[in-house]
Amino acid sequence: MKARHKRLAFIAVGLIALGVATALVLDAFRSNLVFFYTPTQVANGEAPQGGRFRIGGLVEPGSLKRAANSLEVRFVVTDTAKRVEVVYSGVLPDLFKEGGGTVVQGRLAADGSFHADQVLAKHDENYMPPEAAEALKQARRVQTTVEVE
């Protein structure tokens, strides 16, 4: 009987440890999820104010502006329907260019611009980041339904 009690206690402690660990993991998981929004969704106010999220789309041609003596850049991400102005300070990835697809991660500022802490670009010429492709697809779908109406 004694051995069995010991074993039960062992199992109980193990289960409690497992439960606590699972709770902590899931909590960390939830607080580190980054959701993705299209420029149209951002314009409609669907994106969280203050929280981190991602926006995908095309870099609008002619919108890229660099600051005179810092690494700050400003550009517009568009899904062809709506536009979001992005501010970023740092080195842009190799394949970032005007007219190309991009995904930016960061927060919305009070003035409506998006302060990015990460900018991703496609890996090669034929590849479009799936988030950017999705944003364009959704915008196109909306536009066609509008035309049909």
Binding site: K6, R7, F10, G14, L18, A21, L24, V25, A28, F29, N32, L33, V34, F35, F36, R54, R66, A68, N69, S70, L71, S89, G90, V91, L92, D94, L95, H123, D124, E125, Y127, P129, P130, E131, E134
Partner: protein, 651 residues
């Protein structure tokens, strides 16, 4: 002509794989020696034909045969020869061919080094591997044929992705695949044991060297990949918790658990079912890795192909292998018996606890990797799980395992007394706690995380040293002689554990003390980063074999004295019209200096990344020590003795 020869060889390899599986299983079922021997011959023949197919594809790359679609889309006549040959696995079809050829190589190794196994067991092992090979060859022949012609041929190929034009491309994929596919041998051992219904210490002894060998390759492969990412991607990270990296890391974690579980099964005949389950799981995760990378569900540097049909095929294959194996396990498990018993505090219980922790860690990685994919597949929205999740979760989950690493090597089998153990280790604990508290103060910044990381590294290293010291005390003779005289398997364990300590040390110090600065610099500017002066002297232009480059010139100084000159490049690959950053790194024992060119700004200014990364080389040194430990364990004479004795017996 040659590509058709390769295609034909693939078809013959397919037939031979079918023969290998058919003859081996039929022979095992009827206990027919001739049938089983035919299975062995078929396995060797399969290797020959896979080899011919592989060499044929290599020849097509060598000869710039752009009438082959695969060559045309992954090579270019201006590409240097070594990259043309590495381009064999630069895309989906060739990677799959590498996968099967590697599998055939392991199969041949099994036929050569398995004379000591019972005939029926060996036949079931080869039969299982034949089935896996059949699945992959079917996939290649029907859904991803690398020999497909493109008529009319193009004059010039589209070039290999510039990211892949790197020495890392020559080494990383083959070594990683040797690891992935090596676990198919271990899987075969598990299936053969379940089919035969015998699961005993002897089975564990047979399986151990194969597991260790696969694990060594996987460890080295992941290490090479991490180093490559560090210098090639241009932002100095060594691990990104990218889904593809995680795909290789999950089988590594479970494989590590398996190595330790096998030790218990061999020595104590305990938790056998658990061990078999781990063997199945490791290979399943290796397959899952292949699926994730090859199906196009992931988008990353590694995922070239986006063809849902291919993904579906691998998913079906994965389902068949995992489902079949687990069904067999469920049917056979009740008959296997539980084996040796052990106390609640004992080496067995500690190894089991370590195993559970490794599996829990795998679970957290899997959650972060697969959850976004599930959501997307179910059209519930797009999310991403960033590195912060893995960083905050992985380390605390692994802490108990790191603590156990020090304890378990001192714990006796069957029954241990915790107070005695702690008494023996009190000096180790005292010294590592004191050093972990003091070292960060000497290095200039104290945070709880740095102290914790150092504590783990010191604890693991100190306990390994004390263990060696205690063993040496019992022996006679000079230190060198006695260290060499220790059992190879024990030496391997110590070296691998010291590798973990070195690795943790590297990770802790890089995370704690690295300095990263993105700057705007004009020629003549000097930037101070962590005590080093980086002077930008200017740029010049240069030509490579298939690219144009802008090369920056930087002089690095320390207290005014020159340390080194670094020349980071911005390349422009002509064939694919793609820009690429080549970072310049000065590596050292205590620190790396890292410069990457960003982009040109107004005037002659450039955006520049300047990093000082202390102890970053320790990360990979630690990983290679783990692999070296595995090699040492493989050299243990008891595997060789048993083999030669058995061979004499059969001869």
């Amino acid at each position: 002509m040659i590509p058709e020869l390769g295609h034909l060889a693939l078809i013959l390899a397919w037939l031979l794989a079918a023969a290998q599986a058919g003859f081996a299983f039929a022979g095992a079922a009827r206990n027919d020696g001739i049938l089983m021997a035919t299975g062995v011959s078929a396995a060797r023949g399969q290797f020959v034909f896979c080899g011919i197919a592989f060499v044929s594809l290599g020849y097509a790359f060598y000869a710039n045969d752009f009438s082959v679609l695969y060559v045309a889309s992954h090579s270019n006549s201006t590409l240097p020869l070594y990259y043309r040959l590495a381009a064999i696995w630069g895309g989906h079809e060739g990677s799959m061919l590498l996968w099967t050829t590697t599998l055939a190589l392991w199969t041949v190794a099994v036929t050569l080094f398995s004379q000591h196994l019972p005939e029926v067991f060996r036949a079931r092992l080869l039969g299982t591997m034949g089935l896996i090979s059949l699945g992959f060859l079917t996939f290649i022949l029907f859904a991803s044929n690398p020999f497909q012609r493109m008529i009319p041929a193009v004059l010039q190929g589209r070039d290999l992705n510039p990211l892949l034009q790197d020495p890392g491309m020559v080494l990383h994929p083959p070594v990683l695949y040797m690891g992935y596919v090596g676990f198919s041998v271990v899987f075969g051992f598990a299936i053969a044991a379940l089919l035969g219904g015998e699961l005993n210490p002897q089975w564990a002894r047979w399986t151990r060297p194969w597991t260790t060998a696969a694990w060594v390759f996987l460890t080295a492969g992941i290490t090479f990949g991490s180093q490559w990412a560090y210098y090639e991607l241009g932002w100095g990270g060594w691990w990104f918790w990218d889904a593809v990296e995680n795909a290789s890391f999950m089988p590594w974690l479970v494989g590590t658990a398996l190595i330790h579980a096998l030790a218990v099964t061999e020595k104590r005949d305990a938790f056998k079912l658990w061990t078999v389950l781990l063997a199945i799981l490791t290979f399943s995760l290796a397959l899952l890795g292949t699926f994730l990378v090859r199906s196009g569900v992931l988008t990353s540097v590694h995922a070239f192909a986006t063809d849902p049909q291919r993904g579906l095929f691998i998913l079906v294959l994965l389902g068949g292998v995992v489902g079949g194996a687990l069904t067999l396990f469920a049917l056979r498990a009740p008959q296997m018996g539980l084996g040796g018993r052990f106390g609640m505090v004992s080496r067995e219980s500690m190894l089991l606890a370590g195993n559970v922790v490794l599996l829990a860690a795998t679970g957290t990685v899997m959650l972060g990797t697969l959850y976004p994919l599930f959501l997307e597949a179910l059209e519930l929205g797009k999310i991403s799980v960033g590195p912060p999740y893995f960083d905050t979760v992985f380390v605390p989950v692994m802490l108990p395992a790191m603590l156990l690493m020090g304890l378990a090597i001192f714990a006796p089998w069957k029954h241990a007394v915790l107070t005695v153990l702690l008494g023996r280790l009190k000096w180790v604990m005292g010294v590592s706690v004191a050093m972990a508290l003091l070292l960060p103060l000497m290095l200039g910044k104290w945070t709880p995380l740095i102290a914790l990381g150092l504590l783990m590294a010191l604890w693991i290293a100190a306990s390994a040293f004390v263990s060696v010291y205690e063993r040496l005390k019992k022996r006679e003779g000079g230190i060198i002689k006695t260290v060499v005289g220790l059992p190879r398997a024990y030496q391997g364990m110590i070296v691998a554990h010291l590798g973990v300590a070195v690795f943790i040390m590297g990770v802790t110090l890089v995370k704690g003390y690295e300095v990263e600065q993105d700057m705007r610099m004009s020629p003549g500017d000097t930037a101070q980063v962590d005590g080093y002066g980086f002077r930008f002297d200017g740029i010049r232009e240069a030509f490579g074999p298939n690219y144009m480059a802008i090369i920056g010139h930087f002089t690095v100084t320390w207290n005014g004295r020159p340390v080194t000159i670094l020349a980071p490049e911005k390349r422009h690959y002509l064939a694919s019209d793609t820009p690429m950053t080549e970072a310049a790194i000065s590596s050292g024992f205590f620190r790396d200096l890292y410069i990457a060119l960003g982009e040109p700004m107004d005037g002659q200014a450039w955006s520049v990344r300047l990093y000082v990364k202390p102890f970053v080389q320790w990360i990979w040194a630690g990983c290679l020590m783990m692999a070296a430990g595995g090699v040492l364990a493989l050299l243990d004479p008891r595997y060789r003795r048993r083999n030669s004795a058995a061979m004499e017996g059969t001869a």
